[in-house]
């Protein structure tokens, strides 16, 4: 009952703006009428010849639309009038329908309401619609939903009838299937023929069923023989009629829901090729073309030549082999033959002449040539700091030289007849105390440099703090070098020396150094008296040589220290003091003091806290290559198989078998130098310093280690206490490590770790 209007692409609609140009039917001009009069008979004559009956009106229309073109009008009229026949039909089919047309056609079939309602209701009065114009709207009857599964007995009866009909139809001779696809289904029922290249298996006795053909392990190549006739197998029909349940379940599938769907094919047109993917795809065609071009101009060859060898290149660095030495026993054997070695740190207040004294020591022992010193002197004079020339031996950084202040610890080697020394020149400035702690923790003994003229400034400043820190990091032997005695008034005044040494000794005693481990030496770094050589008897410093040995002699006296075999056998622990580029052959090197254990070339070590492993490529101790090194040495290790970002100074190199733990909470026994509260502190462990906080004050103790008070609110300066620390980051630490707590640039406590916990 649905009506719909066929929409036509009316030119009137499309070009309604130009309506004036169009003359209405009957509104022809005189000129038009003249044209009609002359041309209509011509057209008519031609049409009559072709036997096409037309009216005058049609001819006029055609002429009007073709702008008086007789030929076109005749052709049009012929086309529209003649009944369509075979040839024309074919011609028409040749022109493929455009997608748009087909879609429009399809849309025509689907009824829909046009938006141009004005046209729809054209000529319909608003009221009193005549009864013949009134459309009757009848609701479309929806199909009742089919009951699919569980039907009643009547349903079953219907099904039974259906089956009977089917059986009757089957009884009639089956007509040959009209489609290819259906006939191809027959292939399903029989197995495929044996392929030519497979040797046919001769069948000894006819088998009832086709069994799995066994493939012989090595089919002998045979000339293709015609396959023997396979015995026709008669398979019994296994098909059964469904059970009652099965019938109910499956019978409804016979009917499909009759709703026709608009497939994509309908919308996009039916002109599809049966095998659209037979030829190469457009992309393939382009690629083929490009390839052909490439081959012709030889570009392919060039690209071939550019190709990187796909086989992995041999590793650039040969894998470092470990010699598998038993380092501990080797060390034990060589112990008697070797010279003693010692590392000492030079500490003291800023500008008391530490670096200059060390420069003098190096010059006088021959570790630095006079030529170098002369060069430095010349450069220093240009900067107006001639007196700093010796210090420049130690201070190598440009900033250090310009400012005349040591910033970071410098490391130098020299040897006397008996001992190999390593100098660690610590910065004296208060801003660089962390570096001084790092240097002091690597040393065996300390040289405290005191300016005889400026004792007071030192006592208030870093002399005091350095003494405390040196004690805190575990240094026991200390040489006090009373420096600049050549510039006292008068020079080499024994009284000044005596008062200075008395005051320093008092402080050292307070701090905890024992008298036999402390020696006071008067000297002058700049002029070099009593550093390596005793002063001349004729000078004012003649008294010195009677009472005091030279600084170097005193160092040699203190130098021997015992490294026990147990420490050597312990797992490796080395705190990295410095990471640097050792050269082209050794792109990554570290330096630091081995706290315990031993290491040899080729060993694999773990760096904590990053947890990365590295291989030792080479070892240098005091500038000489070695195969192995043991605890208390300060070696330079050349590493491979690790990225530089995993190495920072303060990290711990440890053996991969027993790596050091990375901890965040520690319990420590400390000596308070200032009052302690639960507060934020910087925790220094050798070269490493991390922010953290005192989380608990556990107890205060007296000198003998007995608990005075549990959970104190405050630990006063000078008291011993057990405190718990929480670190912000995980840090590789072990029991017995010495720690220094600092806050706001001043040391508040020092002690050692009692227990660690994650």
């Amino acid at each position: 009952m649905l009506r719909h209007k066929n929409i036509e692409y009316d030119e009137d609609e499309l070009y309604s703006d130009e309506g004036e140009d169009y003359a209405e039917e009957g509104g022809y001009t005189q000129e038009d009428k003249d044209n009609f009069a002359t041309l209509t008979p011509v057209v008519r004559a031609e049409l009559d010849e072709a036997g096409v009956p037309t009216t005058a009106k049609q001819i006029e229309d055609a002429l009007w639309h073709y702008y008086w073109d007789v030929g076109k009008s005749v052709a049009y009229l012929k086309n529209s009038r003649t009944p369509r026949e075979g040839k024309q039909e074919a011609k028409k089919e040749e022109k493929p329908k455009s997608k748009f047309e087909q879609a429009a056609e399809k849309a025509d079939e689907v009824p829909f309401m046009t938006s141009r309602t004005a046209e729809w209701f054209k000529g319909v009065p608003w009221t009193n619609v005549p009864c013949e114009m009134i459309g009757q709207i009848v609701p479309a009857e929806p199909e009742p939903p089919r009951i699919k599964l569980l039907g009643g007995s009547s349903k079953l009866a219907k099904l039974a009838e259906e089956r009977r009909k089917k059986a009757a139809a089957a009884a009639q001779p089956a007509q040959p299937s009209e489609t290819d696809s259906a006939s191809s289904l027959d292939r399903l029922t029989k197995p495929k023929d044996v392929k030519e290249n497979v040797a046919p298996v001769p069948k000894a006795e006819p088998k009832k069923y086709a069994i799995r053909r066994k493939r012989s392990p090595t089919p002998p190549p045979k000339a293709p023989t015609p396959p023997p006739e396979e015995p026709k197998e008669q398979l019994p029909s296994l098909r059964s009629s469904p059970s009652a349940f099965g019938r109910a379940l499956s019978s409804s599938s016979g009917q499909t829901n009759g709703t026709r769907q608009m497939a994509l094919q309908d919308l996009l047109g039916s002109s599809y090729s049966s095998s659209p993917f037979e030829g190469p795809s457009p992309d393939d065609a382009v690629i083929q073309k490009a390839k052909a071009q490439q081959a012709s101009n030889g570009l392919a060859k060039k690209t071939e030549a550019l190709k990187i060898e796909s086989t992995p290149a041999a590793p650039s660095q040969p894998k470092v082999r470990s010699k598998g030495l038993d380092v501990a026993s080797l060390w034990n054997e060589e112990k008697s033959k070797r010279k003693a070695s010692a590392a000492f740190v030079v500490i003291g207040h800023v500008d008391h002449g530490k670096s200059t004294l060390m420069g003098r020591l190096l010059l006088d022992t021959g570790a630095v040539s006079q030529r170098d010193i002369d060069k430095y002197k010349k450069q220093a004079t240009e900067l107006g700091k001639a007196s700093f020339a010796l210090a420049w031996v130690m201070d190598t950084g440009s900033e250090e030289r310009e400012r005349g202040v040591t910033v970071d610890i410098a490391q130098h080697y020299f040897s006397t007849d008996n001992v190999d020394f390593t100098i660690l020149d610590a910065p004296g400035h208060r801003d660089f105390v962390p570096n001084m702690i790092g240097g002091a923790s690597m040393a065996d003994l300390a040289v405290l440099v005191v300016d005889a003229n400026q004792l007071e400034s030192g006592m208030k400043g870093q002399t005091r703090e350095h003494i405390l820190l040196a004690h805190a990091v575990g240094l026991q032997k200390l040489v006090v070098a009373v420096n600049k005695l050549d510039s006292t008034t008068p020079a080499w005044d024994q009284e000044i020396f005596r008062s200075v040494s008395a005051e320093v000794l008092k402080l050292l005693k307070q701090t905890g150094f024992t008298e036999e481990n402390v020696a006071v030496i008067p000297c002058s770094g700049l002029s070099g008296e009593n550093v390596a050589k005793a002063p001349a008897a004729s000078s004012g410093a003649a008294w010195v040589s009677k009472e005091h040995p030279t600084l170097l002699q005193q160092l040699e006296k203190f130098a021997p220290h015992l490294t026990s075999i147990d420490t050597v056998k312990k797992p490796l622990r080395l705190q990295i003091a410095d990471v640097f580029r050792g050269g082209i052959t050794n792109p990554l090197s570290i330096a630091g003091r081995i706290k315990s254990g031993n290491v040899q070339v080729g060993d694999s070590v773990t760096i904590q806290p990053s947890g990365e492993t590295a291989t030792i490529k080479g070892i240098e101790v005091s500038g000489e290559g070695r195969d192995w090194t043991v605890s208390d040495d300060i070696p330079t290790l050349h590493l491979v198989d690790i990225e530089p970002q995993h190495l920072r100074s303060g990290d711990v190199v440890c053996s991969s078998q027993k790596p050091v733990k990375v901890v965040k909470n520690i319990t420590a026994k400390v000596q308070a130098l200032d009052s302690l509260l639960p507060q934020r502190v910087d925790i220094h462990v050798g070269r490493l310093h991390v922010p953290g906080g005192i989380s608990h004050l556990v107890a205060t103790e007296d000198a003998r280690g007995e608990t005075l008070k549990k959970k104190p609110r405050i630990v006063k300066a000078g008291q011993r206490a057990v405190i718990r620390l929480a670190l912000d980051d995980g840090v590789p630490l072990e029991d017995g490590d010495r720690i220094v707590l600092r806050t706001d640039g001043s040391t508040i406590a020092a002690g050692r770790i009692e227990a660690i916990s994650l």
Partner: protein, 316 residues
């Protein structure tokens, strides 16, 4: 208590129900069923595709129940009934990783009433195991690389399972090992193959399942399609077999076949060849029906299309 009840399912009535007790005739003596078929004879099968209209492909498989006269209400042996629905191939969900192949997933679930021992609603290990076996069987058939970025689900519901032994000697039957599973798997393979064909998923061949067993009685000869209640099975074997390619996509052997394992596999292949006849027939029938329908529809469209087209071609 009410709170504990599962509100997502139809629960049993709160009051107790009394199960019916079927009294057998006093003279009826329970006897273990005996195989009446020949050793190389398969039970009759009914297979039909397109049973579930909402799924892309579906099939129903049943082994017709034996119509031997019986004295008790309980049938002496079960008859396998399996439905299979295939959903897909359909696009993978947006968040799924890219896959260049069709992702085939199989679910095998026994209906709670399918076996004498009631099954749970959640798939148990044996059902998941069957699912894996089925997936292997089907993976070798489906041409997965024609359907990139798509998934296909094969959902199998076993409406009536095969028993593991004779129900009357429950203790022994239970112990005998889950021989019924083998028959169920063979059925699953066949029905899934039919459903996949119905769904129009490209396959290299139809895969059919077959079971064979070595039995203790009759000198341990091999039988095709063993019904576990009729035999004392020593070893059994299931294969998924592509007849026209002569390939086995799945094989599951259970029990101790000893030296007879080769023969056992051959027997299972024989059984698969037999079930294949039914499978091919069912698929062919369904396809013919579909073709007939589409050609009819095509005729309809051409007829309706003719009347409308009155296109005048302008020349020149």
């Amino acid at each position: 208590m009410a709170m504990l009840a599962d509100r997502r399912r139809m629960n049993a009535p709160p009051g107790g129900t009394s199960p019916p007790v079927f009294a057998s005739l006093p003279e009826a003596k329970l006897t273990k069923p005996i195989r009446t078929r020949n050793p190389d004879e398969h039970r009759k099968i009914f297979l039909r595709t397109g049973v579930v209209p909402s799924a892309s492909g579906s099939a129903y498989y049943e082994i017709s129940p034996s119509n031997t006269p019986r004295q008790t209400l309980v049938p002496s042996s079960s008859s396998l009934k399996i439905t299979c629905t295939v959903h897909g191939p359909r696009p993978l969900p947006r968040n799924a990783a890219f896959s260049s192949n069709l992702l085939l997933t199989t679910h095998v679930k026994f209906a709670p009433f399918a076996t004498r021992q009631r099954r749970g609603y959640v798939r148990d290990s044996s059902e998941r195991d069957l699912g894996v076996h089925l997936e292997t069987a089907l993976r070798g058939v489906v041409i997965g690389d024609r359907w990139p970025k798509s998934g296909c689900e094969v959902v199998i519901t076993v409406l009536e399972g095969e028993e593991d032994g004779w129900w009357a000697d429950a203790e022994e039957g239970g112990k005998a090992g889950s021989w019924g599973m083998m028959n169920v798997l063979a059925g699953c393979i066949t029905v899934a193959s039919a459903a996949i064909a119905d769904a129009g998923v490209d396959c290299v061949d139809l895969v059919s399942g077959g079971v064979a067993a070595l039995t203790a009685e009759r000198n341990g000869e091999g039988v095709l399609d063993p019904c576990p209640s009729e035999h004392d099975i020593k070893a059994a074997c299931v294969v998924g077999y592509l007849q026209s390619r002569d390939e086995v996509t799945e094989m599951w052997m259970k029990g101790d076949a000893g030296s007879g394992s080769e023969a056992l596999i051959d027997n299972a292949v024989k059984a698969a060849v037999l079930t294949r006849t039914v499978l091919a027939e069912a698929v062919k029938e369904a396809t013919e029906m579909k073709i007939g329908k589409t050609s009819e529809a095509a005729v309809e469209t051409t007829n309706t299309g003719k009347g409308k087209t009155k296109d005048i071609q302008m020349t020149g």
